[in-house]
């Protein structure tokens, strides 16, 4: 393959040597160190190939051997160049292409991000761009170590960043911080206290001395289960109290729903604008002058890629969606539905482990809004561990 390439580069000729004893030419060529290949005999002649530069010498040798040489084909770059010498555009194009290749290879074409799980690629890409790593950046001005450090400082969730510039592609390999494991359970003595006011309904004490009984009313901070245990010998023992203390707890949820309000909604009207991107250059690729007074937009960039390698050439489509200002007038029924949904969310997310004992809903209204108030009675665990220090005297 390599030999073929060099032969093509130097140029070669196919010829026939005809005469009385064509094998004499082979011997003479060998003695004169002429390189022949693909020599095939036929009746009274030999066809072979040789380097174009040797042909002149071969003609003298053939003449002395009593043979006549005739070129049947000319191949290779010198002949191609001679044939197309009148087309000046070809060498100029080749030269420009080479220059373009050299110039473009000095820039970063694409930035790839690997290893991100929860942190979004766009956030990392933005941080990289702020620190000099972006498509179109001159790659010799990028201080990789500085950029790595800066990106790690900018994005708190990252524990490690590595930027590798290979050719025209920059790859940022990132690792995210591991989540903190739960704090180890304290072994120091503690009391169980009430985290809010309520009436005790059930006590499941695993360790400690119960200070309240079922039906007792407690205030926030009252002692429920003590970690100080009396022993039978007039002494005390300090333990870590463990208990679940369930109590009925009152809670109030209030929602004010305005009778009239405005909001923006995305309409079906949209406008696409395309831009042609080449490295850092952006050229408009479509003419669309439609503008909306209120709009939101999304951007989608698609890069041209060859064999999985993204090229610095791409199209960005910016889509603007028109926003409509919608005015809503709420009546009592609609407000009721809104409040019921809000109540479900409150119960599910504010008190997820509690059981609802009762709901008391009150509705009132003023000039501008409906006011919904719901008084809840939840039954939930109000136990809260509070550590205490023991000092011996």
């Amino acid at each position: 393959m390599l030999l073929k390439f060099f032969r093509h580069l130097k140029g070669y000729v196919s010829f026939t040597a005809s005469g009385k004893f064509p094998e004499r030419f082979l011997n003479a060529a060998a003695v004169n160190k002429l390189n022949l290949w693909d020599a095939y005999p036929s009746k009274g002649k030999i066809t072979a190939k040789m380097a174009a530069s040797d042909y002149k010498r071969a003609r003298h040798i053939a003449k002395r051997a009593g043979l006549k040489l005739k070129i049947t084909n000319k191949r290779g770059f010198p002949f191609f160049a001679k044939r197309h010498s009148s087309r000046l555009g070809l060498p100029i194009g080749a030269l420009l292409g080479t220059v373009l290749l050299i110039v473009l290879s000095q820039f970063i074409w694409t930035v790839d991000i690997t290893g991100a799980k929860t942190v979004s690629d766009s956030k990392i890409r933005e941080a990289l761009a702020d620190n000099g790593v972006y498509p179109g950046a001159f790659k010799w001005t990028i201080d990789v170590l500085d950029s790595q450090r800066a990106v790690q400082m900018d994005i708190d969730e990252l524990s490690w960043v590595s930027i590798n510039n290979l050719g025209c592609k920059s790859t940022a390999d990132v690792r995210e911080k591991a989540e903190k494991s739960d704090e180890p359970k304290s072994q120091s003595p503690c009391n169980i206290k009430a985290d809010c006011d309520g009436v005790i309904t059930k006590i499941i004490a695993e360790n400690g001395f119960s200070a309240v009984g079922e039906g007792s009313g407690v205030k926030q901070g009252d002692l429920l289960v003590s970690g100080v245990l009396p022993t039978g010998q007039d002494t005390i023992r300090f333990v870590r109290a463990e208990a679940e203390v369930y109590a009925d707890v009152n809670s109030k949820f209030e929602l004010k729903i305005p009778k009239q309000y405005n909001y923006y909604s995305v309409s079906e009207n949209k406008t696409d604008r395309k831009e042609l991107n080449f490295l850092w250059l952006s050229l408009p690729a479509s003419l669309n002058f439609t503008a909306y007074p209120q709009s939101v937009s999304s951007e989608n960039r698609v890069n041209l890629s060859v064999n999985g390698n993204a090229l610095p050439l791409g199209i960005t489509t910016q889509t603007s969606y028109e926003l409509n200002n919608i005015s809503v007038k709420e009546n009592r029924e609609m407000a009721q539905q809104t409040f019921e949904k809000a109540m479900l969310l409150y119960e599910a997310f504010e008190n997820p482990s509690a059981t609802v004992r009762s709901r008391d809903i009150k509705i009132s209204e003023d000039e501008n809004s409906f006011i919904y108030t719901c008084n809840y009675t939840f039954n939930r665990n109000i136990a809260q561990s509070v550590d205490f220090n023991v000092t011996e005297h």
Partner: protein, 84 residues
């Protein structure tokens, strides 16, 4: 004794005058020590050496490579003859 001292090795073992023939099956033959090609035809190639003429018979025979002292023959060789 005097003759033995002048030519210590028997002529048959003297590789300096004998051609070295290397064959890869019957498809490729390399002859080192050639002094020229005497006949070049698709069915018969005769190669001259210092001591013997080697004749290759077969079909589709061709010289793949030739230098001043070696020849590489390719093709389907049926018979080799040594003519002295």
């Amino acid at each position: 004794m005097k003759n033995q001292h002048k030519n210590p090795r028997p002529p048959m073992l003297d590789a300096g005058f004998q051609p070295l023939i290397e064959m890869t099956g019957n498809r490729q033959i390399c002859v080192e020590g050639s002094t020229g090609i005497l006949l070049y035809e698709p069915e018969n190639i005769k190669i001259n050496t210092a001591s013997v003429i080697i004749s290759f018979y077969g079909r589709g025979l061709s010289v793949r490579c030739i230098t001043a002292s070696s020849v590489e023959v390719c093709g389907f060789v049926n018979k080799i003859e040594f003519i002295s």
